[in-house]
């Protein structure tokens, strides 16, 4: 397998997952805002922080409004992480690896891309927005499903799986980071307690984790439970631990590389050994920073081991 093709498949996995995650994130935030009392202005800004695009946003928009943020997250081509950009990037990659992917995948992705490109005006109306986002989620799942049911489990597939899981681990930690710092503090005002919990519920929902959380944890939704579930659960596909496990499962199928293994073990140990009870008090944001750095190192190790471009 050519390094360039491996690189492309890895990024294809990431972009597709990113489009889906972004759509879910927006959808859940919209629902959350409907539940919060008037005057509580959490708004849409945290979403920009979650996707790590504050700088880019400020460069192109002067004021922070719902319409602007949503346009930026969904349709702005200047934002590399917008749904449209992600799908566009995935599609361009698919062109270059046309010979190694089932043809049907191309058709499904093409469909979705044209839908997003052509139906941007749906973003402005709240009811139609939800329909739009649902279609993005369904479409991404369809592409992924077509892929997993039709593609041989060759090395190419392993790279795609690595990309998908690295992206998910990254998004899950970002959501935890931003949500746990921007969440309202309930300690002072007793009347805000119910809202405190719905915010943690929304964290779960943005990762479609609510139902699974209830099954696994069998306890009310609280900060400790949510953190433990999303970081350390080994069975839920969007938890950081699960994603890292999935990446680990790919390694035996790839040419062995010590550095890749080492970076993976390091970030896994970090997540696994975290003392969640203690983190609730302090140190969460530091831990998440460390995990993010670990993921970055793992990405760099993959790139160095398998995707290297010839030195020009």
């Amino acid at each position: 397998m050519l390094s360039r093709v491996a690189d492309s498949l890895y990024w294809f996995g990431r972009y597709l997952q990113r489009a889906e995650n972004t759509a879910r994130l927006i959808n859940v935030n919209a629902n959350l805002l409907l539940d919060l009392p008037k005057g509580m202005t959490m708004g849409w800004e945290p979403l920009i922080q979650i996707v790590g695009a504050d700088e880019t946003y400020k460069e192109h928009y002067s004021d922070v409004t719902e319409a602007n943020i949503l346009r930026f997250l969904m349709l702005d081509e200047r934002n590399d992480g917008s749904i449209l950009s992600s799908l566009h990037a995935a599609r361009e990659i698919l062109r270059t690896v046309r010979d190694s992917m089932p043809r049907e995948v191309w058709e499904k992705l093409n469909d979705l891309h044209y839908f997003v490109q052509g139906r941007g005006e749906m973003v402005t109306s709240r009811t139609r927005r939800q329909e739009f986002l649902q279609r993005v989620i369904d479409g991404s799942v369809l592409v992924y499903g077509t892929l997993t049911t039709n593609m041989s489990r060759d090395v190419g597939f392993q790279f795609l799986k690595v990309g998908t899981n690295v992206e998910q681990a990254d998004m899950t930690t970002r959501i935890l980071d931003v949500r746990s710092t921007s969440l309202i503090d309930s300690s002072g005002r007793h009347d805000l307690a119910p809202f405190y919990n719905i915010q943690w519920m929304s964290v779960l929902r943005s990762l479609t984790a609510y139902q699974m959380y209830r099954r696994h944890v069998r306890a009310r939704v609280n900060r400790t439970g949510v953190l433990r579930f999303l970081l350390q659960n080994r069975e839920f596909p969007r938890s950081v631990m699960f994603c890292l496990g999935a990446v680990g499962a790919c390694l035996p199928h790839l040419p062995q590389n010590r550095n890749v293994e080492r970076t993976l073990w390091r970030v896994r140990a970090l997540v696994q050994d975290a003392n969640i009870e203690r983190l609730v008090e302090k140190g969460l944001s530091e831990l998440i920073d460390e995990i993010q750095i670990g993921l970055g190192e793992m990405h760099a190790a993959f790139a160095e081991a398998y995707f290297r471009k010839p030195s020009a």
Binding site: L2, S3, R4, A305
Partner: protein
């Protein structure tokens, strides 16, 4: 009865399928009868089925417009072009002869230049050739083959003569469409394949693969062969991916390759670097190697020329092969055949006037409204003047161009390209102009010619431009064994009236 062949207006040109209204040529008789039996609704159904098949099979070509790449579906006509086997055999022999002479010419030009010394080919033509690569001087590629893959364009004039219009020796494209057209036809008109002996075309990728294997500098059973593409922005990217897939070889871009200090070429894989033996390159010479040619080219790979010149790498086609692909050099091909092979050309050239010769030039300039003027080194139908259709301003512009650089221009009489019936959107048939591009593979010890080739059609009424980049489409091309069919099905068509006669 939907198509009324009596109404088919084909008298003004040579028509490939009909000798006159209602009079199919022998090789096309079964086809005409079959189409006759289809109702309008059935015809429409077949036409739409072909469109759908093309979409589903993903047969497309890429056009770059408004800053974006658009994948266009391949325009296709369901009525095939039919060639009798006997005629094709002669054409095939002519093409083999021609390509043999061209390869000898290229080798000679880069080595002893005997043909120049013997005053058969003018030295000044060589000095001004933009496709002459000084880097190739003294090179002798394996088997002495330079133009491994040649796509020659054939056209038929009003009197029925088949001419060679040009030889594409650099990176000819279209062969994937030739094979895919046949697949579409088998889906759409399977009945016809049952009682007609239509020679198959799908052997090409296997033949190409064998030829590339034979070029390997290392004696291996399975040398590492790759196809080098400029990438997705190239209009023929579909074909690049298709060929790689059909041959089971890697589709690489320049950045996947590197040439190491041992002058061998390698590709970068997840398992580390892997030696490359042969590159089927679909990149023009000048972009191939920034070490030697365009310094800023990002499409090629540094050192490829070095690797090739040292004999560590096979390149198809060889760099510099384009020297014989020049439209002015073209005019000398019949002389080359005589000079190198001692034979007369089996396939004629279109008569050509070379603007470098003062006599020819004054003829061309005096007849700009009648001739077609072509620059020596453009492809894709660009930069041409079609005299009878041009405006006076365009003609004056070409007068200036020719006078400024006579070496770079040649002219030919405006041919009345042959036609074939083509199905319109309202299920009527109209004649459309077409040409034929067969592909010739040269291995040194043997030569392979595709069965028929790619028939390109100018889909617009009256148009002579068949290039897909300029609105051309395609037809399936059938080489039909009329004699074999007459033996196998003696009771069909015209013989039927005789056997049912006794009463």
């Amino acid at each position: 009865m939907a198509i009324d062949w009596q109404q088919y207006r084909c008298e003004d040109f040579y028509d490939e399928l009909f000798g006159g209204p209602g009079l199919p040529r022998p090789a096309a008789r079964r086809l005409a009868e079959y189409l006759d039996d289809l109702s309008n609704a059935e015809l429409a159904e077949r036409r739409l089925a072909a469109e759908l098949a093309i979409k589903v099979m993903g047969i497309s070509f890429t056009v770059y417009s408004e800053g974006k790449n658009v994948d266009r579906a391949w325009p296709f006509d369901v009525i095939p072009r039919v060639i009798p086997r006997t005629e094709w055999e002669k054409t095939e022999a002519g093409l083999k002869q021609r390509v043999a002479a061209l390869n000898l010419f290229i080798q000679d030009i880069y080595n002893d230049q005997k043909i120049v010394k013997d005053k058969v080919f003018p030295a000044e033509l060589l000095h001004d050739s933009v496709n002459f690569r000084t880097q190739c001087v003294g090179m002798k590629p394996k088997h002495d083959v330079w133009a491994h893959i040649c796509g020659s364009d054939l056209v038929r004039d009003k009197d029925g003569t088949l001419y060679v219009l040009e030889d594409n020796l650099r990176v000819p494209s279209g062969v994937s469409y030739m094979v895919e057209n046949r697949l579409v036809m088998k889906r759409v008109l399977p009945e016809l394949f049952e009682n007609t002996t239509i020679l198959p075309v799908d052997d090409y990728p296997a033949q190409l693969y064998d030829m590339l294997v034979a070029m390997s500098p290392r004696p291996l059973d399975q040398p590492n062969i790759v196809l080098l593409t400029p990438g997705i922005y190239n209009s023929a990217y579909f074909e690049h991916a298709w060929l790689a897939q059909q041959m089971g070889i890697e589709l690489v871009e320049g950045s996947d390759l590197f040439v190491a200090d041992d002058d061998c070429t390698y590709m970068r894989t997840i398992y580390g670097s892997k030696r490359v033996d042969v590159i089927y390159r679909r990149i023009d010479d000048l972009f191939l190697d920034p070490e030697v040619f365009h310094k800023d080219s990002v499409l090629g790979c540094k050192g490829l020329m070095r690797s090739w010149l040292k004999g560590r790498l096979g390149l198809a086609n060889a760099p510099g092969a384009g020297v014989a692909d020049d439209k002015v050099v073209y005019a000398f091909v019949p002389k080359m055949i005589k000079y190198y092979l001692g034979e007369d050309a089996i396939l004629p050239n279109v008569p050509s006037w070379l603007c470098m010769n003062p006599k020819d030039r004054s003829h061309v300039l005096a007849n700009l409204d009648k001739v077609v003027v072509k620059p020596a080194n453009e492809s894709g139908g660009y930069g041409m003047l079609i005299g009878p259709r041009a405006t006076p301003e365009e003609r004056e512009k070409f007068r200036g161009l020719i006078e400024a650089n006579p070496r770079n221009y040649m002219a030919q009489p405006t041919l009345s390209l042959s036609t074939a019936p083509t199905l319109m959107n309202d299920e009527t048939v109209e004649p459309r102009h077409l040409d034929l591009r067969p592909f010739i593979l040269s291995r040194g010890d043997s030569t392979y010619v595709t069965t028929g080739g790619l028939t390109r059609v100018a889909m617009t009424r009256g148009s002579l431009v068949v290039n897909s980049s300029q609105g051309g489409g395609a037809k399936d091309t059938w080489v039909v064994d009329v004699e074999a069919d007459a033996v196998a099905h003696p009771f069909s068509s015209q013989s039927q009236s005789q056997t049912s006669g006794p009463r």
